[in-house]
Amino acid sequence: MSSERELFRTDDSQVLTETRDARMSGQGDRFNSKLREAFGSSPFILTKFDKFMNWVRGSSMFMLQFGIACCSIEMMHTYAVKHDLDRFHAGVPRASPRQADVMIVPGTIVSKFAPRMKRVYDQMPEPKFVVGMGSCTISGGPFQEGYNVIKGAEEVIPVDIHVPGCPPRPEALVYGVAKLQERIANGEAAPVTVKPYELEQFGDLERDEIVDELASEIDEEDLVMRYNWADSP
């Protein structure tokens, strides 16, 4: 419990965490600029500038207009009147991933959609952030035991903030977004997680039974996503 709370501490002195160290050393780096490379790790001016930039990033987030399943209905309510996410510097839904900073993943991800979602995520410019909305993006939610549902968005793309609920109330989503802003402003972002469902070129895949079976159907150049259902949590 207490260690979890630690994670969301807003006190500036506490935010130099492992994640940040990893980022500074180039691992999982989502902020590093050419400028920073030229100046070395943390000269005073750039540190201040970084702070400023992070604050700017957190205060003007363009959201990707991305509807998947039931949670997207509540997401729409969050954008619209009454809850009005705009008030929190995070309202403008962008239809194109190339203009978006934040992707809210609102719903269940199934086998056919996972590669598309990865593609959309890859198309977003850095730095980018992901808010997982609903139980489905945490574990597959109510469909966890199904034959076609990915057990959480984290299997496919890294997620910064999870908002639990089925669906979460708009207030909860606003809270999640506010937390994300807080973390961005503090220079915190989730480490890039391991992705078991990596897209691979078909030709490079290790030959096994299923690969052999599909060899005639799939082009060598195609990107494929492989689901090892037995191993996923």
């Binding site: 991305f66 039931c70 719903g107 076609n148 669906p167 492989r226 689901y227 259902w229």
Partner: protein, 553 residues
């Protein structure tokens, strides 16, 4: 509900003999489904049988095709109805052997069978002879095995390629070197597709030559989930997630109706009224979103209409939250009634509902000002997306889509359940067959729903305090008799929503099949938009008001 069944029985019986005479040489065996007589036929006489039933006996609505695997055979069941009288049903059962499950396709008789049979092939593994395009529909093309089959191994790895989504602007996406057509992918991530729908579109200039909906991006194995749950409590949460646009109670009713009839549960009158009221509140919320997003599609209006629609939805959701405790996934129905009574203090709740209902005419006035009397919208919607009545019937279109094409068909009135037949309301029908008519039908339905709610509130208010019975006595574990089969439908927000259940004597259904109205409605999209401009196709798609959770299930 059993009352109404009694009144049905003689009718069916008289029909049954006639049908037997009509199909005399084709019937191999008869079966008895709870809802209708069932005839078993040979797999090579499907077209003949369905053709006779359609042309000579008037069964013009193929509501659902259910496929299932038994240890010794496969079975496809064609559930037929009449658009004139949905209580007049007949089921055609087509067994095929398990070694070589091939059966004749019904597609030449009913266009709608196309997708239904593709789904049966995809999930269960029955092959249909003479089918125009037997491919997987919900699962990726490279999927191994048929997941609703008996020996499917859920743990085996699967692979999904990403080839369909290549960049449409590349040269090689012209359909062939010197033609003028171009191939464009719309979706699965595109704001105009209302979710994760993928439209494979071939364009000639700005006109649509061919559009093919590619679905399955939200196939959440709802049927498997229902088959893994126990009747009493574990299935009810899932219907909320079929049509998730606040239509939860309408969907729950589909399951409740089927399961209650299956287990002979009588729902107390008081609970029926609460159900009716809640369901109509859901319908208003669902139609509001349909109207709002339609305006969004037509003139990209993210401001006034969409926000107004959301505002009115919020009001409906607030009431539903008071009633059920949730904003979206209500889980409020129980077999035999509802989970709890109206919230206290009751007067305050009634007051709230009344205020909401009384505001509806004014709100609609506002919408009509903004939408239907707007010249731009009229230009975009009147006379576009034409869906003639016969075509709509052939595709099994229901709900506002059918009613916008002049088909006077509403399960609430024609096959009454709940408290609808005691109340005073009308079924709006428009015969323009275009996008505008479908919009008008939805807006008029909101008005009718408001009427229904008002009457329900009046009834509930005067209900004697000691007769507020919200739940029938239902055993803790339900075990309907072995081999009992039932197919029941209700009027969901998008049309005829049905559930087929086969019981096997245990506490879980052996087969649970969902008839989704959007699945059939979406199938009409090519009919409406081939040869039209792209913007008209988008308008047509918007007017269908699909929700992918229900299309894919």
């Amino acid at each position: 509900m059993s009352l109404q069944e009694e009144s049905e029985t003689p009718e069916i019986e008289s029909g049954e003999t006639e049908l037997e005479a009509l199909l005399d040489d084709l019937i191999v065996d008869t079966d008895d489904h709870e809802n209708a007589p069932a005839f078993v036929i040979r797999p090579d006489t499907v077209q003949e049988t369905l053709g006779r039933l359609k042309n000579e006996a008037g069964y013009d609505h193929l509501s659902l095709v259910t496929a299932e695997e038994y240890p010794d055979r496969y079975e496809s069941i064609y559930h037929l109805k009449k658009f004139d009288d949905p209580t007049d049903e007949v089921s055609i059962v087509v067994p095929t052997d398990s070694e070589n499950p091939v059966s004749e396709s019904a597609e030449p008789v009913f266009r709608t069978a196309d997708w239904h049979e593709r789904e049966a092939y995809d999930l269960v593994g029955i092959e249909y002879d003479d089918h125009p395009d037997l491919r997987r529909i919900l699962l990726p093309e490279t999927w191994q095995g048929h997941p609703m089959g008996l020996d499917y191994d859920q743990d085996r790895p699967q692979m999904v390629p990403l080839r369909e989504n290549a960049n449409p602007l590349q040269d090689d996406h012209r359909s062939d070197a010197d033609s003028d057509t171009m191939f464009v992918n719309i979706g699965p991530h595109h704001p105009a597709t209302h979710g994760v729908l993928h439209l494979e579109t071939t364009l000639d200039g700005e006109q649509v030559v061919d559009v093919e909906p590619d679905i399955g991006y939200l196939h959440r194995n709802e049927e498997q989930m229902a088959q893994n749950g126990t009747y009493r409590h574990q299935i009810m949460p899932y219907p909320d997630r079929w049509d998730y646009i606040s239509a939860g109670l309408l969907n729950e009713w589909a399951y409740a109706r089927a399961a209650e009839d299956l287990a002979d549960i009588e729902v107390p009158e008081y609970a029926q009224i609460i159900r009716t009221m809640g369901a109509e509140l859901c319908r208003i919320a669902a139609h509001m979103l349909a109207v709002g997003t339609f305006a969004l599609d037509i003139y990209g209006d993210f401001t006034a209409i969409f926000m107004y629609a959301i505002r009115d939805r919020e009001k409906a959701q607030n009431i539903l939250e008071d009633l059920t405790g949730q904003r979206l996934m209500f889980n409020y129905f129980r077999l035999g009634g509802v989970v709890w009574d109206l919230p206290e203090p009751r007067e305050e709740f009634f007051e709230k509902v009344r205020t909401f209902v009384n505001e509806i005419p004014d709100a609609l006035e506002e919408y009509h000002d903004l939408i239907t009397s707007n010249e731009i919208l009229q230009m975009r919607t009147v006379g576009t997306g034409i869906l003639p009545e016969e075509v709509a019937k052939n595709y099994g279109a229901t709900g506002p889509v059918a009613r916008g094409s002049g088909i006077d068909y509403d399960i609430r009135r024609d096959d009454p359940y709940g408290y609808y037949d005691e109340l005073d309301w009308e079924v709006p029908v428009e015969d323009g067959c275009d996008n505008f008519s479908r919009l008008l039908v939805r807006m008029r339905e909101v008005e009718e729903s408001a009427k229904i709610i008002e009457q329900c509130v009046d009834l509930l208010e005067d209900w004697p305090e000691d007769e507020r019975n919200i739940q029938a006595n239902v055993p803790r574990t339900l075990r309907p008799d072995d081999d009992k089969e039932i197919y029941r439908t209700v009027e969901g927000a998008k049309g005829e929503l049905g559930v087929y259940i086969r019981a096997d004597g245990t506490e879980k259904p052996a087969r649970f099949k969902i008839r989704s109205p959007c699945f059939s409605n979406l199938q009409t999209l090519p009919e409406m938009s081939n040869g039209e401009y792209i913007p008209d196709m988008i308008a047509a798609l918007g007017s269908l008001d699909i929700v992918l959770g229900e299309v894919d299930r």
